[in-house]
Amino acid sequence: MTEAPALVEGRLEAHLRARRQQGRKLLVTYVTAGVRADWVQVVQSVVAAGADAVELGIPFSDPMIDGPTIQAASVEALRRGTTPAGVLDAVTSLEVEVPLCVMTYYNIVFRAGHRRFAQSLASAGVSGAIVPDLSLEEAGEWCREADDAGVATVLLVAPSTPEDRVARICARSRGFVYGVGRMGVTGERGELAGSARRVARRVRAATDLPVCIGIGVSTPEQAAEACLDADGVVVGSALVRRVLEGASPDEAGEFVAGVRGRLDAGA
């Protein structure tokens, strides 16, 4: 088992732990950066509606773990000329009360260079990074640069992950652990998969870090169900679909407020 190096608790982890301590279930919302001209307002609106952290998708040309909704949002954001540098510029002036993470694919990180990318995140005030195609075995070099820059690299545990790997992934993850709710790509589903709560329990047995379940968490009810075992949820496609369909920032906020309200009401 890989021993995690000693680490000062970063902003993302401190914030999520503090809110969990208050008995609050964590709500992380995903927004594809650049999907519309007013995407920054969407972010502000979902924070005001009760998101505990925001995951900003930096669009990539080949988003292989994303389903049709986030693929479409990525295509649209790229068509609008969205670049990683442009996203981080916009984030720098973004004033929100909760930590921001970026979610992007590894080639965006690799092309920029590990150190440069980590430092650009830190300078923009981003406190976490999720790079879903960077497996534990390949993540070492990036994680060291991210640690040095004070950026938490959130790693993923999947339903297929064997037990010994769960422990190693949790030891290397920072901020929180992203529990993959179902085998498959991102996207809305009619029901929460049975694997979602099982993954949450397995991660909780391996670490004290907060565990948030994402992929296939689409409705307030599914979020509440996942939180029977998880500390929180990541809601992406359900929000992004509304944005793609033309929901205003306020309307996007209303959806998030609905999830927030359901989580606060308890099981």
Binding site: S61, G67, N107, A112, D133, L134, E137, A158, S160, T161
Partner: protein, 390 residues
């Protein structure tokens, strides 16, 4: 073992700095399972017996090496063709899919998914699925289903479901994305039968080993034709690079100059820089931000913005060189081989022929011996070429 050229990759699946396993966590266990299954199978004489029996009795191996009389005279070189066009289904792709289908069976998986560009790998996978009684879904970019309509029908005849891919550039790279997405969701009973020496470890290694038969046969056959000598030049087309990898594996320890020929519009080595997509680190056509660019060539099979990681390594250490052929040169070579030798090549190996035709008497000295792997036959391309030449 990393010491010998074109041996095993290192434990992290690297050839030099290229390769690796850049996949979502959901797929890591499946890659590990495949790695273990292949290692066990490749050490098992019974697996080789079974594979060889199918390749011989069903696939038509060994394929001959044909000495080109009239074209050699015209080019002033001694040109030999490794005739993978004579393999069942019409290309070298069968060598790979038979091996992978047998592996899938050993892992208890009865469903194959595949990506295809020109349709050759899709047809081969559909064929293997029919042969072994497996389910088969083939992802094919919508642009390619249009220009290779005959191959779509052929796959359907073989019982496969062809799913047109409408995302991104709607060509091979997007078909790979869709196949990976399918695999993530169905991995417990599905094997992703990848078509080239690309993707996450162990695929580049497995596919090269399964295509090694091309180079090993050719080496023996060339020696028979050349009085015990090896060819001085060994040339193959490269998209992902599986026929080239299999061919080079047979000649990497000879003095032959190894040349991979890319489509000018899809030249990952020619125009790319290192990057990571589809599970591997290799050379990729991409922009300053790291967005993958769309390849564009006459040949659907070479419309891929990347290249197998082992090719990136062979180029980096200088053991192989990577050149390009333009669409116009390819059309000329296509007709040239047809008229001088009575062989209609696929557009993909016509790239290798085009480069040889251009360089004969220049970089390739007069009288030199040249082996070109004719990776597939041109039947699938005849309608497209007719339209282009009209």
């Amino acid at each position: 073992m990393t010491g010998s050229l074109m041996g095993s990759p290192d434990p992290s699946g690297r050839f030099g700095e290229f390769g690796g396993r850049y996949v979502p966590e959901s797929l890591v266990p499946a890659c590990m399972e495949l790695e273990a299954a292949f290692a066990e199978a490749w050490d098992d004489p019974a697996f080789h017996d079974e594979l060889d029996a199918v390749l011989v009795g069903y696939g038509g191996r060994p394929t001959p090496v044909t000495e080109c009389r009239r074209l050699s005279e015209r080019l002033g070189i001694r040109l030999l063709l490794k005739r993978e066009d004579l393999t069942h289904t019409g290309s070298h792709k069968l060598n790979n899919v038979i091996g992978q289908a047998l592996l899938a069976g050993r892992m208890g998986k009865r469903r194959l998914v595949a990506e295809t560009g020109a349709g050759q790998h899709g047809v081969a996978t559909a064929t293997a699925a029919a042969l072994f009684g497996m389910d088969c879904v083939v992802y094919m970019g919508e642009v390619d289903t249009a220009r290779q309509a005959l191959n779509v029908f052929r796959m359907e005849l073989l019982g496969a479901e062809v799913r047109p891919v409408t995302s991104g550039s709607r060509t091979l790279k997007d078909a790979v994305n869709e196949a990976l997405r399918d695999w993530v969701a169905e991995v417990d009973h599905t094997h992703y039968c990848i078509g080239s020496v690309m993707g996450p470890h162990p695929y580049p290694y497995i596919v090269r080993e399964l295509q090694r038969v091309v180079g090993e046969e050719a080496r023996v056959q060339c020696r028979q034709l050349l009085g015990g000598a090896d060819p001085q030049w060994v040339v193959a087309c490269v998209g992902g690079g599986s026929n080239a990898a299999g061919t080079f594996a047979g000649f990497v320890d000879t003095d032959a100059v190894l040349v991979g020929v890319e489509a000018a519009g899809g030249a990952a080595m020619g125009h790319g820089v290192p990057g990571v997509v589809h599970g591997m680190k290799s050379y990729l056509m991409q922009d300053e931000a790291g967005q993958i660019e769309e390849a564009e060539s006459i040949s659907a099979g070479l419309d891929y913005p990347g290249i197998g990681p082992e090719h990136a390594h062979l180029a980096t250490i200088g053991r192989a060189r990577y050149e390009q052929a333009t669409d116009a040169e390819v059309l000329d070579a296509f007709s040239l081989l047809a008229r001088t030798e009575g062989i209609v090549p696929a557009l993909e190996p016509a790239h290798a022929l085009a480069w040889v035709a251009r360089q004969a008497g220049k970089e390739i000295p007069h009288g030199a011996t040249v082996l070109v792997t004719l990776s597939g036959r041109g039947d699938k391309d005849v309608a497209q070429v007719r339209d282009l030449l009209a």
